[in-house]
Symmetry: C2
Amino acid sequence: MPSPTPFTLTVKAVLFDAQNRCLLLRRSPANRHFAGCWEWPGGKLDPGEDFATGLHREVREEAGLEIELTALAGATQFEMTSAHVILLCLEARPLGTAVRLSEEHDDFAWVPLAELGRYQFSPGVGDFMLDYAKRKGAIS
Amino acid sequence: MPSPTPFTLTVKAVLFDAQNRCLLLRRSPANRHFAGCWEWPGGKLDPGEDFATGLHREVREEAGLEIELTALAGATQFEMTSAHVILLCLEARPLGTAVRLSEEHDDFAWVPLAELGRYQFSPGVGDFMLDYAKRKGAIS
């Protein structure tokens, strides 16, 4: 029997500023996939890394922000060629607002959930993000 | 500023047998909380443990079964006195059906999702389990 495709965990943060806008980052051409698509900060856990520790690290690396986790936002799944990816999203508060991007992203925006529909997201994740905005009552 | 309550990850498996019934375990009096309540197998990750590895381990310990993960079932959250618990549930297939319980449980049952409403679950998790059965079209 062939070994089944492994399940991996990716974590993302829905960072809300004081005006209740969430932080979107735009994927730069340095990315092999989905350059130009917008996303919430986050990424894959390092081996042996706790999900909360990994989420703090990813947001620090990608946005230069320290955060405080506040609640579950939701979970979804999508297929990559080598893995079933479980995407776990948590709501968080940034402990500052001065965003400092890494080379993975070339733009950022603080966006009300009601305006998420104007942005292009990676396939498999956009529907989940819009569904989240619906559950929060921001779009119908 | 006091340190915020930590977020921890607990994983559970919705194990479906060939008749599409899921495995419920009944918490024994050896548990400090919620003895008599039914639950899907699973538990807290060990430090440094990958979520899939931890889920395989927990199901092996609690039900004596090897499993193959198949898909995301969903995620929810609840509060404990010392932690915000994120509960991540995956659907899985058992690679056998001979259940062997640990001392944590004193009974088990293979239950169609449509009959989940007959069982008593721990507070904070029962609504999520019934909502899952609704999303799967098993109850209205």
